[in-house]
């Protein structure tokens, strides 16, 4: 009889917890990185496996953190634009990184085989960093000022001229 009561209590508590979970999921909202905020420190690895700490590794620079994936065609146009602007603004302290979301190193290397990318490509294999930044569509680009504060978040594909306009105000 005691076992039956315990089972019944457990069942009721599970039911209550499930109902509370459903209700909480309705009221809770995910936090996203906003302009004016500092991103949390994350450690990602580049294509060689070396760890890179964002944003600390680029302290004092204007940092463009570009989230992308191999299935996203506009993302490649942005990579080309970033590469071009990197050549142009490197000496003035501009640093881009492209963070691949949710793909393996093999897929990423394959996707970039015919491209010249001289700046770091980072791997967010389990999408943790994308979630932390509140990325909900690709491409998404965060531009941090020299103090490491998010100056602009670009939602969608931005072209070279648009990127130049955003960066020139910070360099």
């Amino acid at each position: 009889m005691r076992d039956l009561d315990a089972t019944r209590r457990e069942f009721l508590w599970s039911l209550f917890a499930a109902a509370a979970g459903v209700l909480w999921s309705g009221v809770a909202t995910a936090a996203a990185l906003k302009a004016g905020e500092r991103p949390k420190r994350v450690t990602l690895s580049d294509l060689t496996g070396a760890p890179v700490v964002l944003p600390d590794a680029y302290a004092g620079k204007v940092l463009a953190i570009h989230f992308w994936a191999s299935w996203c065609a506009p993302c490649f146009r942005e990579i080309d634009a970033l590469e071009s602007l990197f050549g142009e603004y490197r000496a003035r302290g501009m640093a881009p990184v492209s963070v691949n979301v949710g793909e393996t190193p093999g897929v990423v290397a394959d996707a970039l085989r015919n491209r010249t990318v001289s700046y770091p490509i980072l791997l967010d294999t389990d999408s943790t960093t994308a979630r932390l930044y509140g990325v909900v569509g690709l491409p998404t680009t965060f531009v941090l000022d020299r103090k490491g504060v998010t100056a602009v978040k670009v939602l969608g594909e931005i072209d070279r001229d648009g990127l130049r306009r955003v960066l020139s105000g910070l360099l």
Binding site: V22, A35, G137
Partner: protein
Amino acid sequence: MPGRWLRRQGALLEFALASLLRHRGKTAALGAVLTLIVFLLASLAFLRSSVRFDAVALLGDAPDLVVQRLVAGRQEVVPQSAVSAVLAVPGVARAHGRLWGYYYDASGGANYTVVVPQDAPPADGETAIGSGVSRSRHGYSRDVLAFRSYDGKAVLLTVKAVLPERADMIAGDLVVVSERDFRALFTLPADVVNDVAVYLAPGADPAAVTQQALRALPGSRVVTRHDMLETAASVLDWRRGMSAVLVFAMAIALIIVSADKPSALGVEEQREIGTLRALGWSTLDVWIAKAWESVAVSLVALGVGMLAAYVHVYVWGAAVFAPVLSGWAVLAPSLDLVPNVDLGFLAAVSISVIVLPAAGTLLAIYSAASGDPDAVIRE
């Protein structure tokens, strides 16, 4: 005489409450089922009447008529000259061309409604976005929406404001832009608009103005405010169908709970009724005491169920129904509703929850209360 009757009812009620306490498990189970039924039906009633109230209130500012041009049955852009043609129609107080369109944001996987407001449009390169757009893209003030125009050029819009949640029902998917950005995004020439909004002079007959506008602009169609309200209502229609299914299911559940009572009369309860009859209670007394039991459970279920439904809909944004109502929509509006109560429906729910179980109870105890007490106790 009335005092004696009242004392008698009081005594019967006291007995009924004591009896409910004696059968705690059965009372709690019945109360829980009734509370759940009340909660679901009342939530639905609150939700329906508030959504309808919001839709009517928000469409109150819509123009009296909208003139659109059709080509092969599809809406086409209208030349700016149509505005002056409509203004010349007697009974028209004001008319202006509107710019609006739909933009599919591939990176967000959602369709936005892009509009240029008549009053106080944003500056070039700036935008105000609906709260649905903000939620779906995690876009806030100072962020940049990067769109591609129909001719492949980038159109960058810096978010200056997010529209309030209260307007979410009709403005959740809005991207408000300047005329220059609108025309650049959709590569729309400067001499055309999407349609013409018309405001009538007081006392003007919409039907007469419609006829004259159609004569002035052959090949057009005129949409009245009534048509817009009807369209909004029909958009809610499939949801109304779901509501009907839920109401039907709950009604069946209530009938089953009520009808189950005759078969669910336990041996202990039968003995109790037999004992009461043996002690000299009349059949009517037994009936009244048992009816009080049923009414007491129903009243508690009504109170708790209604309160829970109110909190569910107006504090928690109808969290239980929201995923079903949103369906596949990426920009589903948040259900931040103004309380509005459909008293008729709630009265029907209340009466059903009190009367049906009470009727079931009376039917259940009929044979036990009217039979031979000795036989009932020995059964």
